[in-house]
């Protein structure tokens, strides 16, 4: 039996199991890329406006750090620049999650062992996963090319832009495949791959913003950027990207051949032979399970906040030049002091992204239930409500901490650069914390669905979150009436620090969150436990 026997059928298994996720992730990325790239052109309709914008952008370290330089001032060139970072990071993230889920994740669940005992070669699963990852990025690139060409961008540049985004996905496929060989846990593997991706992106950003732009060639994101679609259309930078993807993948195969199924190459450090005195109840157990993710997210929001705080002045000036974003900032109360409008805007947008943490943490009980670990706790003298409430409490507190990290990061760095830390830190901390009720409404929706129909909880909650983000895009870029945003708990929150504080909407949001959580716990008490 060859080590690849059964790869074809494994591809079908993955396509079937992941069909919704594949469509959601890669389809949405294609839509966002085409939608945003084509909308940027309409925000700067004249060549003169675009030139002015490019001149300020290319002189602004913050923009250079976040996205990189603008190479071409045509509408297409500006569009490609605007989506470059998002497209590369989103495709990279989608791909790394796909690869880890289908390799290490399957091994961890024990399903790989089951399949491995059938007529499936030892490399079939890895090969099938990488095939799917390669094709998913290729199809996304095709969709993006078609979409950009359809909105009138030059075809060759559209194709190269799309391929340069997909190339980032391919590199991350190799990176994730390698990370999946190193550790025994899927979460750890995804963490390693994401950290590597973040490091590469930051490396490119520092290089572009600093005095040594050549250093961005040390990062795959720098190579992808070097393709310069609509501005010379270089094909050759795709070669090192492909080379890196091949090398990383090859290393993954080498390691895969040298390890046992289920084991990682990095040795698992032995744990204590007995539990610490504090590990004695469902709450302590929940904390133990959540803390790694909480620490990682908090560190991430602190860094993000610090980065935003450090570049706030420059970015606020930039954003003032864009009509679409100016509308958003004015809605956020940026009339009096533009930088406050900018802070309110980023906290508003970041809160919606951080909601992913809140939802993931809230749905931890579901993961515990399907893994069968919930039964181990609930067969002890622990009521369902107490068990679930432990997780929900940690998730809610964790969401507040993650938001606080964002506010603190912004406040401390901005305060230090302007010399007004004592004034800025509390304001910006409050601006972040005031978002907590809206974030918790989405988390509570997940909790309610978990109680009633656990299998629907994740897909429905993420669809709602995605819908709210789509509403935002529709208002900013599509010119939809801003009043539809009253549906969104995020938009109902007072936009501190720009706008005035009002407590009523917060109380309403908190009441909705409490009611949804209570409904979820009530339903959980009455239903059958699965797994």
């Amino acid at each position: 039996m060859s080590t690849l026997t059964g790869t074809g059928s494994m591809v079908l298994v993955i396509l079937r199991r992941d069909r919704v996720k594949l469509l959601a992730w890669f389809g949405l990325v294609a839509l966002i890329v085409v939608g945003v790239a084509s909308a940027v052109g309409s925000a700067y309709p004249t060549e003169a406006a675009r030139r002015a914008f490019a001149a300020t952008t290319n002189g602004d370290p913050a923009q250079l750090f976040m996205i990189g330089p603008i190479y071409d001032t045509s509408a297409a060139g500006l569009g490609a620049w605007r989506v470059r970072g998002q497209a590369a990071l989103l495709l990279g993230l989608a791909t790394l999650l796909l690869v880890v889920r289908n390799t290490r994740g399957e091994e961890e669940s024990g399903r790989a062992e089951l399949l491995g005992s059938t007529v499936v070669g030892r490399h079939a699963s890895l090969t099938a996963t990488l095939t799917v990852a390669f094709c998913a990025n290729l199809v996304t690139a095709a969709l993006v090319t078609l979409g950009l060409a359809a909105v009138g961008f030059p075809v060759a540049g559209s194709l190269l832009a799309a391929l340069s985004f997909a190339a980032c996905g391919w590199v991350m496929a190799g990176t994730a495949a390698l990370a999946a060989q190193l550790t025994g846990g899927a979460r750890a593997a995804a963490g390693i791959a994401s950290a590597v991706m973040a490091a590469w992106y930051v490396l490119r950003g520092v290089a572009d913003a600093g005095p040594a732009p050549w250093a961005s060639w040390l990062s795959p994101f720098g190579w992808a950027q070097g393709v310069r679609p609509f501005a010379g259309d270089h094909v050759w930078p795709l070669l090192p990207v492909a080379g890196a993807a091949v090398l990383l993948t090859g290393a993954a195969y080498l390691l895969a051949a040298r390890r046992d199924l289920g084991a990682g190459l990095l040795p698992d450090r032995p744990g204590p032979a007995a539990a610490a005195p504090g590990l004695r109840g469902p709450f302590a157990l929940a904390w133990r399970q959540h803390r790694g993710m909480l620490v990682a997210w908090t560190a991430g929001t602190l860094l993000l906040g610090a980065a935003l705080g450090g570049t706030a002045q420059g970015i606020a000036r930039q954003l003032g030049a864009s009509d679409a974003l100016r509308g958003l900032i004015e809605r956020m109360g940026g009339g009096a002091r533009p930088v406050d409008g900018f802070f309110a805007t980023i906290v508003y947008l970041a809160a919606q992204v951080l909601t992913i943490y809140a939802i993931e943490a809230t749905l931890r009980p579901h993961a515990e239930e399907t893994a069968g670990r919930a039964a181990a706790v609930l067969a002890g003298p622990v009521g369902r409500v107490r068990w679930a409430a432990g997780h929900l409490a940690v998730a809610a507190l964790g969401s507040v901490v993650v938001l606080a990290g964002l506010g603190l990061g912004i406040g401390v760095v901005y305060g230090l650069t302007t010399g007004t830390a004592a004034h800025e830190v509390p304001r910006l901390l409050a601006a972040a914390l005031v978002r907590a009720p809206s974030v918790l409404v989405l988390a509570a929706l997940a909790a309610a669905l978990y109680g009633v129909a656990p299998r629907l909880a994740a897909p429905v909650t993420y669809t709602v979150l995605g819908g709210l983000l789509a509403l935002e895009l529709a208002v900013e870029l599509g010119g939809a009436d801003a009043s539809i945003l009253s549906l969104s708990p995020f938009a109902r929150t007072p936009a501190l620090p720009g706008a005035a504080f009002t407590v009523t909407p917060l109380l309403w949001l908190a009441a909705v969150a409490a009611a949804l959580t209570a409904a979820g716990l009530f339903a959980l008490r009455r239903r059958d436990l699965t797994g």
């Binding site: 961890e108 025994g184 846990g185 289920g262 084991a263 698992d268 450090r269 032995p270 744990g271 204590p272 032979a273 007995a274 539990a275 610490a276 590990l279 004695r280 109840g281 469902p282 302590a284 157990l285 133990r288 399970q289 790694g292 893994a371 069968g372 670990r373 039964a375 181990a376 706790v377 609930l378 067969a379 002890g380 003298p381 622990v382 009521g383 009455r526 239903r527 059958d528 436990l529």
Partner: protein, 312 residues
């Protein structure tokens, strides 16, 4: 109160699957009760109803004098459970898991914990994700056996253990019984049930088909007899309740129903029997008889019986 568990007419459906179809089960306080049935017959479902994880559609279930759904939390203080497929927290070591589960049940005896870890040869420092199936099972077993409870609910607890550990497990269960604890042992390993259990319930397709002590069950099934000389063969063949009469040389062998045993022995005595070997049916024979006859009755559970018996 003499019954630790009493279940009658229990029904549980999952969509169109009727997992439990009027199941009865009585476990007396202080006994080791074997709960036998082929894969998919409803053993785990019954146990999950008894633990209050599932809610029965109809029928009654009492556990330690309480209602397993309503009084779940209070009852769980008095029992320990080992699931058939143990999953552990990946980042917790085996020792931490044992302590955590034990403490949630109100604490465990450190000496017993240490003794069990020793006997089961478990490395308690490994992380949950690093254990093999058998070792995960040991973690759950040690946590259950080290806690001070009245009732142990064990769902196919030895499915991943090697024969050496299986022997340690049997020893432990005997000690538990001596200590006065009640054990519900779901299994399809017949040797284990035969070695450990005072009484047995055999279920198939969500229904109890036999229940009683091993002696009672044997009474209901056939004893095999071999005797010399073979002169009684024709008259044995004529008796009701005597089957499979075969003559090899000077020996006769046959299968005799419990209530025909007296008549058969009288016939043999009348022919001046020189040697007589009678063997009670093994549990495996009883088990196979249930499933093979049910199989011919056109049921799907039968095909798992062969597999079950073969795995012994």
């Amino acid at each position: 109160m003499t019954n630790a568990i009493s279940v009658s007419g229990l029904v549980k459906t999952f969509g169109r699957t009727r997992a439990l179809d009027g199941l009865d089960l009585t476990v007396r306080t202080g006994e080791v009760h074997g709960f036998l049935g082929p894969n998919g017959s409803g053993k785990s479902t019954t146990i999950r109803v008894l633990l209050g994880l599932l809610r029965a559609d109809s029928g009654t279930a009492r556990l330690l004098g309480g209602d397993p759904w309503r009084d779940a939390t209070a009852l769980h203080r008095r029992l320990a459970y080992v699931p058939g497929d143990v999953t552990l927290w990946p980042a917790l070591s085996g020792g931490e898991t044992i302590d955590l589960l034990g403490r949630m049940r109100g604490g465990l005896d450190p000496a017993r914990r240490a003794g069990l870890i020793d006997r089961f040869e478990l490395d308690p420092r490994k992380k949950g994700r690093a254990y093999s199936k058998g070792n995960r099972q040991k973690v759950a077993l040690i946590a259950a056996l080290a806690s001070d409870v009245e009732l142990l609910v064990l769902d196919e607890p030895t499915s991943g253990l090697d024969p050496l550990m299986e022997a340690v497990f049997q020893e432990c269960v005997r000690e538990e019984r001596r200590a006065g604890r009640t054990v519900l042992l779901s299994s399809h390993v017949l040797g284990e049930v035969e070695a450990l259990c005072d009484r047995v319930s055999i279920i198939r397709a969500g229904r109890t088909v036999e229940s009683g002590t091993l002696a009672e069950l044997r009474h209901l099934t056939r004893t095999s007899i071999e005797a010399e000389p073979s002169t009684a063969a024709p008259r044995l063949a004529g008796l009701p309740g005597v089957h499979d009469v075969r003559v090899t040389g000077d020996r006769v062998s046959c299968q005799v129903d419990g209530d025909a045993l007296g008549a058969a022995v009288r016939e043999l005595a009348a022919t001046g029997v020189r040697s007589l070997v009678s063997r009670p049916p093994t549990l495996e024979e009883m088990f196979l008889r249930h499933y093979t006859t049910d199989h011919t009755a056109g049921d799907t559970a039968g095909d798992t019986a062969g597999e079950t018996a073969g795995s012994r």
